[in-house]
Amino acid sequence: MAPMIVFWIAVGVISAAVAGLILRRAARAAAGGGDADSTLPLYQRQLSEIEDLAERGLIAADERRSAHAEAARRLLSAADSAGPAWTISATSRPVLVGLAIVAPVAALGLYLAFGSPGYSDRPYAQRLDQWRAAPPTQLDAPQMAAVLRSVTAERPGDPEPFRFLAIAEMASGDAPAAARALREALRLAPDRADLWESLGEALMVAAEGEVTPQAAAAFQRALEQDPTATTARFHLARALIEAGEVEAGLTQWRALLADLPASDPRRPVLQAAIADVAAGPRPPAAPAAGAVGAPEIAAMVEGLAARLAAEPDDPEGWVRLVRSYSVLGDTARRDAALTQAKARYADNPQILRELAQAAEAEPMR
């Protein structure tokens, strides 16, 4: 409540100051008498200055005469052209006070119509404190990242907050920021293979899936620390395949497959990727990326669906869900979600239009 009071006090003070300023000037003008034409004193001063200069010997006699004559002519013409002096007409006091008050009142009316009355300030530091106090489960990824950034600032010697920060930045879709956080973590713990591996992934995502020289270097470091690092091996081999060394890459992938335990959930993905590349000249990048990415995307979509089941009042979420199903090519679920959402937002043409567009989204393949 307090901020509202501050706002109204400020509005009052500003309004009073403005009205006071206007009234004071008006009162001074009313007391000071009508202003005579102030041009005349200007020319009079010029005349006296010419005299002054002449006396000090700074201008010659005939110069003085001509300057004097011209200034005098101007003085006369100014005196002729000046209209009658202004006189204080009795502008009544109530009218003046009314004028001084009407401005703030009109401004307040306009403000209430067009402004955001009652909206408090939301300084970043204050919002950050709120996020830090909130249970982490209630924060979305960018908020989590903001909290973790402040934690890393407080504990600059601890690699763990940087690692968590990187995860949160990745989840917010900011891979370069994740890579920065991981570099910090690695500065503190240069021996950790998992961090090098994550850095490689972050750099790769930042480069839209391409294994850049920097990403490859990070994966190499991971392998130096831990020769079994699965992700690093997978992507380094993929980079070889993309660079045209298909056989060498496939050999590495097969070796990786042999090393993976039978229960490892990544086996089928890798098997599919190998089969895909071995099958022929289709661009190898797409299947590999798809094979790795699809389960994660599917999991994300499932999470969204679950959240909407719990908290269904989220039009954006529904649109996103419908679009995701369209993109995944899952028409049955898309239609189910579409029906549900259409029923929910039947009276909102904007949402209905967005839903219809989302349902038309091109499937991935």
């Binding site: 004193p41 010029q46 200069l53 001509s66 011209e70 101007r74 202004w86 003046l96 001084a100 009407v102």
Partner: protein, 674 residues
């Protein structure tokens, strides 16, 4: 609540501007000083409330309040404090608020300090200034409100364009806006003169300080902009005839012409109509500049704000304001009194010639700026008008103007002896000729343009000094008298001399730099070298560095002078601003006397042997410092002249050369003439 206080104060300022216009106009109709005082009070209050509003916006930027849409779109919590503050005017909305702040600020000054004006003139001027305020404040409140809030504030802001995160560019808009908007007062005074049917010497006397203030602000603003382009964009140049640069240059040319024509009106009461015309034109060109820059109608390095609806609104404001102003001019100006007569060879005629040349130069710049837009709108094909056009049109006009310039101040009012004036310039002519010959003999490669340009620079500097030497009777009077005369010189004279000499300094720098600059670009691995204009630059190391909101690769280069000694260590950077994903290049500049060795670091690549390599570009920009020093002197001249508060206004003087050429007692109005 502070943000909402700012939002309220902004609206209050708009309402006060309405009151200002209404009360002042009514005061003029009813000849009532009390109503006029209400109008003046409202003008001062409008500035006060807008200052509150602007402070609230700066606060929102400083605390990174992303619930304010403008802050969310233009700031970032990791940005250094200076650039968070500067972000308040780095955006479209914020810069329009600053425009309004300047507009109401000048309105308040006019209301508070315009005591020497006649009551009617002042009331109309205050009313007009209020009306100009209404247009831009209404635009700000309803179409470009910087206080619009977001119900769901983002976690982080989108940050300010990193090119704009630079000290010169934080200062550039405030100075430029003082210049642009300072001309609004001149516009208002012109309207008042038309309404009152009176544009006499006293009126011109009032036009001068406002024009001077605006002109000085524009000069500094344009120079800062050029300096920024020079060291931030990393192209090695400083002026590109870019439409946005032209947009600020045209009001400057008009203001320059106005400074000189106002002198004639003030001293001789002549040319009142033309002076009013220029006074209307100055602010019109300012608004044209605002429209070009802020509407996004141009696509250039500067067109950061792109919004067609707003562009249409700004164009409407421009059209209505200028249209009404010039319509009033067409109606009233023919009835204005003619001023004093003068002979074809006289100070007045020289200033008229100055005005003709400046007006022609403005017209060529206007054509070069608008033609591509018109062509694109009509024929649908994009063309660009670049330096070749301006070199063929603008440069010759300026050459004539600058050639004649030193003679102008030596001519007497009313009727002058051209031969006598030229005779006094023999020293300047001699030195200019020596400079030309020496340049042709010594400078490699030989350039006629360069020699002529250098001669012109020397001619201007020595010619300006000649004027002072003449007035203090240097070498002709006893030392005591010379000193007395020197002390008695009005500041206006000093201002003019500084401005004219500053122009000469600029010409020297600009000609030397454009004629004899050298550029070398090489792909370098560590330890490799680049030769530019006799300097040897060795790439020693490249290391990552981290700024507050960017990451960078910083190169360390050792630069050796032609004589083999170490000239300097150059540390150019290539910065990646993660918030927006933009890369910028931070130039390293080694100052060698008046010249610059300018080194730019390019992207990292992989060389043939797998080792990293960088594209390094080195520029040798001889006398580049003078390009920025010259305009600095000119602006200083403007400020010095502005400080000459003596309200002197003598008429004729220095009748014949036979008479002792007395120190001219009157402030020789101003400024610079380009």
């Amino acid at each position: 609540m502070i943000v909402e206080i700012g939002a309220f104060a902004l609206i209050l300022s708009l309402v006060l501007s309405v009151l200002q216009t209404g009360a002042s106009a009514l005061a003029r109709l009813r000849r009532g000083p009390v109503l006029a005082a209400v109008g003046e009070g409202a003008a001062i209050a409008a500035f006060f409330t807008l200052a509150v509003s602007f402070a609230a916006l700066i606060y929102a930027f400083v605390v990174s309040d992303f619930s304010v849409a403008n802050v969310a779109a233009n700031s970032h919590s990791a940005k250094p404090l200076l650039y968070r503050v500067g972000g308040a005017w780095g955006s479209h909305e914020g810069s329009m608020l600053m425009w309004c702040l300047a507009l109401t600020g000048f309105g308040a000054l006019l209301a508070g300090y315009g005591r020497g004006l006649t009551a009617g003139l002042k009331a109309v001027a205050v009313a007009t200034q209020g009306a100009l305020g209404i247009a831009f404040l209404a635009y700000t409140v309803f179409a470009s409100n910087p206080f619009w809030r977001l119900t769901d504030p983002p976690v982080e802001g989108r940050s300010l364009n990193p090119l704009l995160q630079d000290p010169a560019l934080i200062l550039h808009p405030p100075f430029l806006y003082v210049g642009y908007v300072g001309l609004s007062v001149v516009f208002s005074l012109a309207i008042a003169a038309l309404v009152e049917g009176r544009a006499d010497a006293a009126w011109a006397r009032w036009v001068r300080p406002w024009t001077l203030a605006a002109w000085s602000g524009l000069t500094i603003g344009i120079t800062l902009g050029a300096f920024w382009a020079y060291y931030e964009l990393g192209w090695g140049g400083w002026w590109f005839w870019d439409p946005v640069e032209n947009a600020s240059f045209m009001p400057w040319l008009i203001a320059t012409a106005l400074l000189h024509s106002a002198v004639v009106t003030e001293r001789r009461g002549a040319l009142p109509g033309w002076t009013i015309f220029l006074a209307l034109g100055g602010y019109t060109f300012s608004m044209l500049g605002a429209f070009l820059v802020r509407s996004g109608v141009l696509t250039s390095v500067h067109a950061f704000a792109v919004d067609p609806t707003r562009g249409v609104l700004l164009l409407t404001i421009l059209g209505v304001t200028a249209g009404l102003g010039f319509a009033l001019f067409a109606w009233r100006a023919p009835a204005m009194a003619r001023g004093g007569m003068f002979a074809p060879i006289s100070r007045e005629s020289a200033l008229v010639l100055n005005n003709i040349l400046l007006a022609a130069a403005t017209a060529t710049v206007l054509l070069g700026t608008l033609y591509p837009l018109i062509r694109e709108a009509i024929a649908g094909e994009a063309i660009s008008v670049g330096p070749p056009y301006f070199n063929l049109t603008f440069t010759p006009l300026m050459f004539i103007l600058l050639l004649l310039l030193p003679a102008g101040p030596l001519l007497a009012w009313k009727r002058a002896d051209a031969g006598a004036a030229l005779q006094r310039l023999w020293v300047a002519a001699l030195l200019a000729a020596v400079a030309a010959v020496a340049t042709l003999a010594l400078a490699e490669p030989r350039s006629l343009f360069g020699a002529a340009g250098l001669a012109l620079g020397v001619w201007l500097i020595v010619g300006s000094a000649t004027e002072v030497a003449e007035r203090i009777r240097l070498f002709r009077a006893p030392r005591g008298e010379v000193l007395r005369r020197l002390g008695g010189l009005p500041r206006g004279t000093w201002g003019m001399t500084l401005a004219h000499a500053g122009l000469g300094v600029f010409v020297l720098g600009a000609v030397f730099e454009t004629t004899w600059k050298a550029e070398t670009a090489e792909v370098l691995a560590l330890g490799q070298r680049l030769d530019v204009a006799g300097y040897v630059v060795v790439l020693e190391n490249v290391a990552p560095v981290r700024g507050p909101n960017y990451e960078a690769e910083q190169a360390t280069l050792r630069a050796f002078a032609p004589n083999g000694t170490l000239a300097c260590m150059a540390r150019p950077e290539r910065r990646l601003y993660s918030a927006g994903g933009q890369t910028t290049s931070e130039v390293a500049i080694c100052t060698r006397g008046l010249s610059h060795l300018y080194v730019v670091l390019g992207e990292r690549r992989t060389g043939a042997d797998g080792e990293p390599v960088w594209l390094v570009t080195g520029y040798w920009n001889p006398w580049a410092l003078l390009i920025f020093l010259g305009p600095g002197l000119m602006a200083l001249g403007g400020v010095v002249s502005l400080s000459d508060r003596r309200l002197r206004l003598a008429a004729g003087r220095r009748a014949t050369p036979a008479l002792p050429a007395g120190p001219e007692p009157t402030p020789k109005p101003v400024g610079e003439p380009a």
